[in-house]
């Protein structure tokens, strides 16, 4: 069904393209054909799900379908490199992420793009809060005890993470640098295996995105000390924020945003930004994002300019933390 529509779309756009030879495509009637949205992570992950929920609504607003292309590899930088090199006609967009557009800068010295120089920020979508998690029989009862414990036992504790460049790795490094400890980091291949090791009690603690952790916390197979956002999360009302628990310096969120290749016309950016804001205000979209435990940005943070500032600040935040790690 979908395919017939896209077939028809392809035919139509082929004809439209023939017409376009005579009249160069202008930003006024954008978009005239299917838009490709590159998502730098596997389908089904938090970034993918958020992108899909929001772009489905954007596509409605724009009256054109948006095809999501998941390109995985090298912590999302493979996909982002491809997006940076794509035509800046507004028909190739990319979901940028805390990893691809900030943490990647210190982590990959040979990065083939620069988040600020090679992209036009479009709109911030939603973020997933980071939690401080531990195995269920880890001695400390709350964050204060946790801090004291890991400092006292710095030689003994193990911190799991989902692989170099993953959100859990970056945020754990941030936590460790704030606490000024250097625990042994045990790398896993993705969030699933890392969570498995934490549930099995093979490692002591980890930092991870809220989505996959909530059911485990509710079932008591792991415990959460704090959520690294300014406000408590509705899906875990009993978990204090880092500020409440006494570690206000630790603030981290796996934010997701739309970017376009550098040089995309401002009119197109404005169109897309307006559509994204409309999506974030939609009742149904909001409900689904909140169900995921996501945080939806406040109105002031939804402009392209605000996103540019965010990228700048995030790079500044992660660079000193992650630089020595490589």
């Amino acid at each position: 069904m979908m395919s017939i529509r896209s077939l028809a779309g392809a035919c139509l756009s082929a004809f439209a393209a023939l017409g376009a030879f005579a009249v160069p495509a202008s930003a006024q009637n954008y978009p005239t054909r299917t838009i490709t949205m590159i998502v730098p992570f596997a389908a089904g992950g938090p970034t993918d799900v958020i992108s899909r929920i929001v772009t489905a609504h954007i596509a409605q607003t724009l009256g054109q379908s948006i095809v999501i292309e998941n390109v995985v590899g090298a912590g999302g930088t493979t996909a982002t490199t491809r997006a940076a090199r794509a035509a800046n006609d507004g028909y190739t967009l990319v979901t940028g992420h805390m990893g691809t557009h900030a943490a990647s800068v210190p982590l990959y010295p040979k990065l083939a793009y620069h988040p600020e120089k090679d992209f036009e920020p479009v709109a911030l979508l939603a973020g997933t809060p980071i939690l401080i998690l531990a195995r269920k029989d880890f001695p400390p009862k709350d964050l204060k005890e946790f801090i004291a414990y890991v400092k006292a036992n710095a030689e003994k504790v193990n911190a799991a993470h989902a692989g170099i460049g993953s959100v859990s790795h970056a945020s754990c490094e941030l936590l460790n640098s704030i606490l000024d400890i250097k625990p042994v980091g045990v790398p896993f291949n993705g969030t699933g295996p890392a969570m498995n090791a934490l549930v099995a009690g093979q490692v002591d603690y980890m930092c991870d995105q809220i989505v996959n952790a909530v059911p485990q916390i509710n079932a008591g197979t792991i415990k959460a000390y704090a959520v690294a956002t300014p406000e408590r999360n509705p899906s875990l009302p009993n978990v204090p924020t880092t500020t409440e628990a006494g570690l206000p310096a630790f603030q981290a969120q796996a934010w997701n945003a739309i970017f376009a290749p550098k040089g995309t016309s401002p009119a197109i950016i404005a169109t897309l930004n307006a559509a994204a804001i409309k999506a974030l205000d939609d009742e149904n979209v909001r409900k689904r994002l909140l169900e995921l435990g996501s945080v939806i940005p406040a109105s002031a943070n939804r402009t392209p300019e605000a996103l540019a500032t965010l990228v700048k600040n995030e790079i500044a935040k992660w660079t000193p933390v992650l630089k020595p790690a490589t």
Binding site: A42, G45, P46, V72, G73, P187, G192
Partner: protein
């Protein structure tokens, strides 16, 4: 007992028309994906995920699950017909399956693969329903040390399955291990032997290397002068489509053993299914009265690994259904599918989503039934495909493989790499090196290295963890025993001074 009530509830859910339809679609797509070389389940499930947006969650997951185990049925088809394993789990099937096809027995090989898969699928489904929750403990009991020992055991299996020189088989395993090192280092993220090629940053894909050393190399070799005779012979020799009474009698114990091994190993997250198929093959070869038949068209060599991989495909759902933790990439995508529908699976998923869990379990049984109904008649069609003149067949396989490899990552470089591995594979065949141990080394290499390093990180460099942890010690002991069994006959044979010297 609750079990029957739950299962009855599950069947009510699974027998609803929409879910039956979803199950059928899943089984069909899975078969197709398995048959097409290169196209993997991961890529397909990822691509079909968005379509499940519009479906009810239970139906969507029933369909995705169907694709996953359906591919296990289909995966054996190309292994047997054209010697191209589509999935890591069907590499061993190619060893004897393709030999059977060359002897005109493609029909019985395909049929026994389907029958074995069906039996294993049924048993494993019951196992999930009855023992799912207690078996979860096994998944949690396996820490890095245990995994490392299991991988060592897996590598020993690869030695045993060698047809010719053990020394050359070991060399191929190590070559495979070395190839698996390409890509990012898990602990430091350092790029290893990737030569700044972005497509190599995450390592060489299994599909890329498998298509190369099996698929393309086989084609190139078949184009050699003199190989034509062979091929024509195959086309004339095709005999019965279904297994004979003797075939069934030979296969039955193999299917039983394969099912048991597969069911147990499948529960282990990551690599369980691959090791299961290799282990089942090794076990049959070791138990056989005449191990020489293996690699030359022994039907047990098809029945055992195919049963094992399908049993493992079913039981690998256990960690997902009881813990909410995805044990492999396809399951991670299924978690994604659940997330899209607002269900985040966790340890309480069985209580909170009985429709989903029991519906899925029931649907697996129905799906396996559908798959055998789909696959047995297909045997005739597949075998007829062998009658297509090779001059038309081989360019088609080249194109299918190329598209398949491209589709995995949408990366043209992967296709070129597969071509290069085709030439390497051709060279290996010419020098009588076997590609199967190479592939096993490649699959197990990263798992072995990563778990070794994790284990040592956690133990702070204390190597004794591998023997002080009981499970790990048992696995290593089995590995050592098997190694002795594998090397002894070689030592007894004539050429042995050389082999002993080389060990030093």
């Amino acid at each position: 007992m609750d079990l029957f009530a739950n299962l009855a509830h599950g069947f009510v859910v699974a027998f609803s028309p929409i879910n039956l339809l979803m199950c059928l679609i899943g089984a069909l797509v899975g078969t197709l994906v398995g048959v097409l070389p290169g196209i993997g389940t991961i890529a397909t499930v990822a691509m079909l995920l968005p379509i499940t947006f519009g479906l009810p969650p239970v139906g969507a997951l029933i369909m995705l699950a169907g694709i996953y185990y359906g591919a296990q049925y289909g995966g054996s088809t190309t292994s047997i017909l054209v010697n191209i394993p589509g999935e890591a789990t069907s590499v061993v099937t190619a060893l004897d399956g393709h030999q059977m096809a060359k002897q005109g027995r493609a029909g019985p090989a395909l049929a026994i693969a389907a029958i074995g898969s069906f039996f294993a699928g049924c048993v494993a489904t019951v196992l999930i329903a009855v023992l799912g929750a207690p078996l979860t403990k096994l998944a949690l009991a396996f820490g890095p040390a245990e995994y490392f020992s299991l991988m060592v055991l897996g590598l020993i299996f690869a030695v045993v399955l060698a047809k010719g020189s053990v020394l050359k088989a070991v060399a191929m395993i190590v070559f495979g291990l070395l190839l698996s090192m390409v890509g990012s280092d898990i602990e430091t993220g350092a790029s290893r032997m990737a030569f700044n090629i972005p497509e190599l940053a995450d390592g060489l894909g299994f599909a890329t290397v498998a298509m190369g050393v099996f698929g393309f190399a086989e084609i190139i070799r078949n184009l050699d002068h003199g190989a034509e005779m062979d091929r024509n012979l195959v086309q004339q020799k095709i005999t019965g489509l279904m297994p004979t009474r003797k075939d069934l009698a030979d296969s039955t114990p193999a299917i039983l053993r394969g099912t048991v091994l597969g069911s147990i190993l499948g529960i282990l997250p990551g690599g369980g299914a691959v090791i299961a198929s290799f282990a089942a093959y090794t076990l049959e070869k070791k138990l056989a009265k005449d191990p020489k038949r293996f690699g030359r068209g022994a039907i047990e060599g098809v029945a055992a690994p195919e049963s094992a991989n399908n049993a493992a495909a079913q039981t690998s759902f256990i960690p997902l259904l009881t813990l909410g933790i995805p044990p492999n990439a396809v399951m991670a995508l299924m978690v994604g599918a659940m997330t899209i529908h607002g269900i985040v699976p966790g340890p309480q998923v069985m209580q909170k989503q009985p429709d989903l869990v029991w519906g899925m379990i029931a649907s697996m049984w129905i799906g396996n039934l559908m798959l055998i109904i789909i696959n047995l008649p297909l045997v005739g069609i597949w075998v007829r495909l062998l009658r297509v003149p090779y001059r038309l067949m081989f360019p088609s396989i080249v194109v299918f493989c190329a598209i398949g490899i491209y589709s995995v990552n949408n990366a043209p470089v992967d296709v070129v790499l597969a071509g290069a591995f085709g030439l390497i594979g051709y060279w290996l065949i010419k020098h009588d090196f076997e590609p199967a141990p190479l592939l096993l080394g490649m699959v197990l290499g990263p798992l072995m290295e990563e778990n070794l390093r994790r284990a040592l990180l956690i133990s702070r460099g204390d190597w004794s963890v591998f023997v002080s942890r009981p499970l790990s010690a048992v696995l290593l002991a089995i590995a050592a025993g098997l190694l002795v069994l594998a090397v002894l006959p070689t030592l007894r044979a004539k050429r042995d001074e050389v082999f002993v010297e080389s060990e030093g």
